[in-house]
């Protein structure tokens, strides 16, 4: 039996990081998850579709990469994955962090700032609305995820903002 060489991958889905090792042989892949192993026959269909045969089950997977993330859809259900790469690890982690940080209020989507409800130096409480951003005709209230002090207001009503853009910088306030 030929020895096969594998490659280890790490993907995050939401907040969770998953790891697997993939071994490839002609017409066959083996995926290892710790002590569990999956044997997979892969039939490429198109740029956005592969057909997997796993244990006699046929699974059609639709996939696309967009903005550095992998969108994977099976049975009409979509999952968004980010690959954690050794070199790019820090960057990805930092970006993920930016969305969760307690010390900056960032816009979770592209949109237009409707209203900023705080000023520099204000102390804000957890769940207090700091700003309102409109996207696709919906107003979205952006709330503080913890008690904090406003360090700097980085956007004004009417500004167009990108996803991930900092709107209000915060600093710890005990």
């Amino acid at each position: 039996m030929a020895r096969s060489f594998g490659r280890t991958f790490q993907f995050t889905i939401g907040d969770t990081t998953h790891q697997l090792s993939l071994f490839s042989e002609p017409g066959l892949y083996r995926a290892h998850f710790g002590d569990r192993q999956l044997e997979v026959h892969v039939q490429p269909i198109s740029d956005n579709c592969i057909l997997l045969d796993i244990d006699g089950h046929s699974v059609t997977v639709y996939l696309a990469e967009e903005g550095g993330r992998k969108f994977i859809c099976i049975g009409g259900r979509q999952f968004v994955l980010e690959e954690v790469r050794e070199s790019a690890g820090a960057g990805v982690a930092a970006q993920t962090q930016a969305f969760k940080t307690d010390y900056a209020l960032v816009s979770p989507m592209p949109g237009q700032v409707v209203k900023i409800q705080v000023s520099e130096g204000d102390v804000v409480e957890k769940n207090q609305t700091l700003a309102i951003v409109e996207a696709m005709k919906m107003e979205n209230e952006l709330k503080a995820s913890a008690r904090a002090r406003v360090k700097k207001v980085c956007a004004a009503a009417g500004d167009l903002v990108d996803a991930g853009q900092i709107i209000v910088e915060l600093e710890p306030e005990e």
């Binding site: 998953h18 017409g27 995926a31 569990r36 044997e39 796993i54 859809c73 009409g76 259900r77 996207a135």
Partner: protein, 501 residues
């Protein structure tokens, strides 16, 4: 009256819907588009296309001057407004009348009456049709709202007088929230409808939302085309609609249908419209409003009655008499519509925009997909997040429900967040199966929600991702075996060596 060219003053799936109807009638079409929509599907499908301004709705799809100008430039004889945007805008309808452009909808007078939610509440109340307790005049002064709220008791609901589609609607549970909510509602109403006046009524926490489709010609004939049950809502916007409603028996259906026709006649309303009712579990119903436009959910009526509503709209606009009367209207089977929004149901239905990297549409018997997107298109941030509608017909509710599940499972929209997975869970929910569809359905049964993969599915997802990542560096050869694929059962452990160890 002979109509040869129609301008469609809308975008997305509804513009596509209207363009198709016109094409079938031999009417040529003019699309208008904002600068953000140069590559949009409706632009591709029309016979002529004109850019009417920058992305902001007020400067393009709500810009009456630009649209009238486009109609004149392109020699269009009529304008179909779709839903949203200018569809219920009295000034626009009036302007069309003045410019001798046929507005495919009610007259500006009828629109003014029913389009003013407060005025129509008063009218219906006078006609003996029950309305929800609340203000019978609109306003902007928060004190006025506070007084009325105090009188009828919290919770109350703020609504845009010119509104629709849930825009500007805010529930208020206590006096503390009132001022901010009134302001927010006014802001949204002003932006969306060009009219920031709002009003307040009693908030019924969990009614059903049942509406009747009506059609009225300009010769005094009016019919209803039965009801649509639209109770499944998020952010006061409908998500799932079905017909018939499980909540109506034939007696109640007949009574509500007759009331709907009475209401429409009382208002002197012509063309297609919808009379919305709130219905409680004791069979009491309250007039809510008239939607003076083609509704997003009109296809479920089309699938069960066989009446093409856009075609009827055009016939009425041409001055034709309705070709059928109430007794000719039959319905058969059951239809369900699911709206596919660009949004993330796991994050409070936050809108999502960006590029649709890949689209696969559902198909097969009894499945209709009214779609405004295509593989590779951009979903702009400026407009309603509705991407498409999956609509199914089945012999009965259960057949339709299963067909919807199947259709959703074959719908693929990659690259942005959508509500497809969430909708599958709604349609598969035991309470939905049981017909317990009330307006609080989503809050009560669906929240919080997240797309969850069990361990096996998760492993398949990760494997696919890894195979794809690997593939970018060079795929292994295709299987060359010609025999039945031999796959061993799920294995644990085994003698495989990790490379490098």
């Amino acid at each position: 009256m002979d109509l040869r060219k129609v301008l469609v003053a809308n975008r997305g799936e509804i513009a596509v819907r209207v363009i198709r109807a016109c094409r079938e009638l031999g009417i040529s079409t003019v699309a208008v588009y904002s600068e953000a929509d140069r590559e949009s599907l409706h632009v591709q499908m029309a016979d002529h296309a004109l850019c009417i301004g920058p992305p902001a709705p007020l400067e393009s799809y709500l810009n009456i001057e630009a649209i009238v100008d486009a109609a004149k430039k392109s020699a269009a004889q009529a304008i179909h407004p779709g839903y949203g945007f200018l569809s219920e805008n009295t000034s626009f309808a009036k302007r069309c009348e003045e410019e001798d452009l046929v507005f495919i909808g009610p007259t500006s007078n009828a629109l003014a009456l029913v389009g003013d939610k407060v005025a129509s509440r008063v009218t219906m109340s006078k006609a003996g049709i029950p309305i929800i307790p609340g203000m019978k005049s609109k306003g902007t002064d928060p004190a006025l709202f506070a007084a009325e709220a105090k009188k009828i008791g919290y919770p109350v609901l703020i609504k845009a007088s010119a509104g629709g589609g849930g825009k500007g609607m805010v529930v208020i549970n206590s006096p503390r929230e009132l001022k901010e909510a009134v302001e927010a509602s006014m802001r949204v109403a002003g932006g969306a409808f060009g009219d920031e006046s709002v009003y307040l009524e009693k908030y019924l926490p969990a009614p059903r939302h049942v509406e009747f489709q009506v059609l009225a010609d300009t010769h005094g004939n009016a019919v209803h085309l039965f009801e649509r049950e639209c109770s499944i809502q998020r952010r006061h916007q409908k998500v799932v609609e079905e017909t018939p409603s499980v909540a109506l028996d034939d007696r109640l259906r007949t009574k509500m249908g007759a009331t709907a026709v009475e209401a429409i006649k009382a208002a002197g309303y012509t063309n297609a419209g919808t009379v919305e009712f709130l219905l409680d579990d004791d069979g009491r119903f309250y007039f809510l409003e008239v939607n003076a436009r083609l509704q997003v959910e009109h296809p479920i009526t089309e699938l069960t009655t066989g009446v093409d509503l856009v075609r009827q709209q055009i016939a009425v606009a041409r001055g034709e008499k309705l070709s059928f009367s109430q007794k000719d209207v039959r319905r058969s089977g059951h239809a369900i519509e699911c709206r596919i929004y660009a949004e993330d149901p796991a994050k409070g239905f936050m809108p999502s925009s960006g590029r649709v990297a890949f689209l696969r549409e559902p198909g097969g018997p009894g499945v209709r997909h009214d779609c405004g997107i295509y593989s590779g298109c951009q979903v702009p941030v400026h407009y309603d997040p509705i991407l498409s509608k999956v609509i199914v017909w089945g012999e009965d509710r259960e057949a339709a429900r299963k067909r919807m599940l199947s259709a959703l499972s074959e719908t693929v929209i990659l690259g942005i967040q959508t509500s497809i997975g969430f909708l599958q869970d709604v349609i598969a929910h035991a309470e939905f199966i049981a017909g317990n569809t009330h307006t609080d359905f989503i809050d009560k049964y669906m929240m919080p929600w997240k797309e969850e993969a069990d361990k096996e599915l998760l492993q398949v997802i990760l494997t696919a991702a890894a195979v794809d990542a690997q593939g970018k560096a060079g795929q292994p050869g295709r299987s060359s075996s010609s025999s039945v694929r031999q796959v061993t059962p799920w294995q644990t452990g085994g003698g495989w060596r990790v490379g490098g160890q």
